[in-house]
Structure formats: structure tokens, C-alpha cells
């Protein structure tokens, strides 16, 4: 799209492109963990990136926590539309990150369940503890364990 038609400055347009190149794929991967329909996921990708750009003006671009903020923004946006509040379905559970085949053996089913519920659906530790009938501390430890296992896998 030509710069003449767009109201955005050249610099801002460049920032958007850089931001898009770095995070769009990651965000789409995250969204598709919650919404299985690819068309709907793409629609939400546009909506979430647009609102994030307008809210932050991409000020935190060089900051390491940009992804964390973007993911939390996506989680909030999807939750507002009741898209991430569904049951812990197999479709969600099977979306365990990294290389699913490797992870499926690596993580226990409870770890996968907890990681997916927190990562994709943004469920709170207390909510999960109640849902799964376990102590909060236990849930926290299992979440840490699942992340640690995936981090170790990456390091190896």
C-alpha cells in the first residue's frame, strides 16, 4: 500500500513492519492454540496487532518483554470475546508448544494440561487448582516443571 494513501509516517510504517516480522508468526501460533479455525485466527491476528500497536505506539519495541506484553494483550482480547474460556479440550492440550511430538513424550499429561490452560487460556493458578482438585502450590510447581522441561529440550 502506497505511503501517499496511508496516513502513517514512513518511520511508523517501518516500525510496524519490523514488529510484524518479529511477532506476527509467534502470535498466530499462539492464537491458533486457542482458536482452531485458521480464518478466524487470522482475523484475530489483525485485530490484536492493530490494537496493540495503537495502545503502545510500539514504544517497548526493543524491550525484551514485548512478547510477554503482546501475549497478555492477546489473552485479554480473546477472553473478552469468550474465546479462551473454553474447556480443556484435546485440541488445546495437543497444542503443547515447541515440537509437539517431542513434547508429548516429554511432559506428563497433567503438565501438558496445566501448561496449555495457563499459556493459551490464561487460567489462574487458583482457578486451575479448584478445577483439577489440587493445591495451588502443586499447580505452580507442575507449571514450572513443564516450562523447565521445554527449556532444557531447547538447550539440548
Amino acid at each position: 500500500m502506497s505511503e501517499v494513501i496511508l496516513n502513517i509516517s514512513k518511520e511508523a510504517s517501518k516500525d510496524i513492519r519490523q514488529f510484524y516480522d518479529k511477532y506476527a508468526g509467534m502470535l498466530l501460533g499462539f492464537i491458533q492454540g486457542t482458536i482452531q479455525d485458521p480464518k478466524e485466527s487470522e482475523m484475530h491476528l489483525i485485530k490484536i496487532i492493530t490494537s496493540f500497536i495503537l495502545e503502545t505506539n510500539l514504544n517497548a519495541q526493543s524491550n525484551l518483554s514485548t512478547w510477554m506484553l503482546l501475549r497478555q494483550h492477546a489473552q485479554r482480547t480473546l477472553a473478552q470475546q469468550n474465546l479462551s474460556d473454553g474447556q480443556l479440550t484435546d485440541a488445546v492440550l495437543n497444542k503443547t508448544p515447541n515440537h509437539p511430538t517431542e513434547n508429548s513424550d516429554l511432559l506428563s499429561s497433567r503438565e501438558k494440561e496445566i501448561f496449555s490452560a495457563v499459556y493459551y487460556q490464561g487460567r489462574s493458578i487458583s482457578g486451575l487448582a479448584e478445577l483439577l482438585g489440587e493445591e495451588e502450590n502443586n499447580i505452580r510447581i507442575q507449571l514450572k516443571s513443564s516450562i523447565d522441561k521445554m527449556r532444557r529440550l531447547r538447550e539440548n
Binding site: 496516513n7 510496524i16 508468526g25 491476528l45 510477554m68 507449571l143
Partner: protein, 164 residues
């Protein structure tokens, strides 16, 4: 609690995942400030979570970026318009004080505003008017012709009666 125990407690993970409670967030920020080791571990975890997300990335189809640019542009334009409008409103409020210097004159407009849907009604009325006019002319001519024929017949009957 020692710093190692805090690191192992899973509080960093809940914080990074965005599901920490207010109390936990405060605790993390405090520990981050007090212990460089904790801050370093938190940074590492953030980085690793980003790498994890990169591994799960799905390449968006072409055309998404231009749609985002278009959306951003549209929203910014709309916001600019709203800003201009509110600025104009603000100016008009300021101008209200100046109005006191002038005499207000009441006048009525000669024009009226109606809904666009009425144009179809007007068109239908116009067409129906033309049709009725056509019928009126037709029946007028028919009637005149019939009257002439009646007159002719009357004359003929009279003639026949006289000859008898």
C-alpha cells in the same frame, strides 16, 4: 526464604505467564530489585519463553500486514477527525461568549429536509398521475364519441318516424 528457593518456587513462571496475583507481582518486582541473580533468571526465562513461541510460530498468509497497516491508518484517521471535531466544539464554545456582542435574528428557512425513501413515493405518485391522466383523456374521447353516435341515432330514428 532464600533467593534459590524463590527461583524454584515457580513464582517467576506465573509472573511471566501473566497469571500472577497482585501479591505475587509485588513480590517479583521486589525480588527483582533486591537480587540481581533473580533479575537475571527472570530475564533468561522471558527470553526462553520468546524462543519457545518462535518455535511454535505459524507463518501468516500474505496480505495480513497491509490489512494491519490499513486498519491502523483508518483508526488513526478516525481519531484525528474526532480530535478536530472536539477542537472545533471547543472553539465554538469560546465563540459563544463573543456572540453576546451581536443581535440574534430569527429567520425561517424556505427549504425542508425529507428522507431519501420518499423519492420513490414521489416517483410512484408521478407515474400513477400520468396513467390516470391517460385514462381520463381516453374515456373523455370515448364518451364524446358515444354521445355523437347517440345524437346520430336519435336523428336517424326521428327521420324514420317522419317517413312513416
Amino acid at each position: 526464604m532464600k533467593i534459590k528457593e524463590w527461583i524454584d518456587s515457580g513464582i517467576m513462571e506465573t509472573y511471566i505467564m501473566g497469571v500472577a496475583t497482585e501479591q505475587e507481582i509485588e513480590q517479583v518486582l521486589l525480588l527483582k530489585k533486591q537480587y540481581p541473580e533473580f533479575e537475571q533468571e527472570l530475564g533468561k526465562l522471558e527470553y526462553d519463553m520468546e524462543v519457545l513461541a518462535q518455535n511454535m510460530a505459524i507463518l501468516p498468509p500474505p496480505g495480513i500486514l497491509s490489512k494491519i497497516e490499513h486498519e491502523v491508518n483508518e483508526i488513526q484517521l478516525r481519531e484525528q477527525k474526532v480530535e478536530k471535531f472536539t477542537a472545533r466544539e471547543h472553539n465554538s464554545n469560546q465563540n459563544d461568549s463573543r456572540k453576546d456582542r451581536y443581535i440574534e435574528v430569527e429567520s425561517e428557512s424556505n427549504h425542508m429536509r425529507i428522507h431519501k425513501a420518499w423519492r420513490w413515493v414521489f416517483a410512484a405518485v408521478f407515474v400513477l398521475g400520468k396513467i390516470f391522466l391517460g385514462f381520463a383523456i381516453y374515456y373523455y374521447l370515448e364518451n364524446r364519441q358515444a354521445k355523437e353516435q347517440v345524437e346520430e341515432l336519435k336523428i336517424e330514428i326521428k327521420k324514420n318516424a317522419q317517413t312513416r
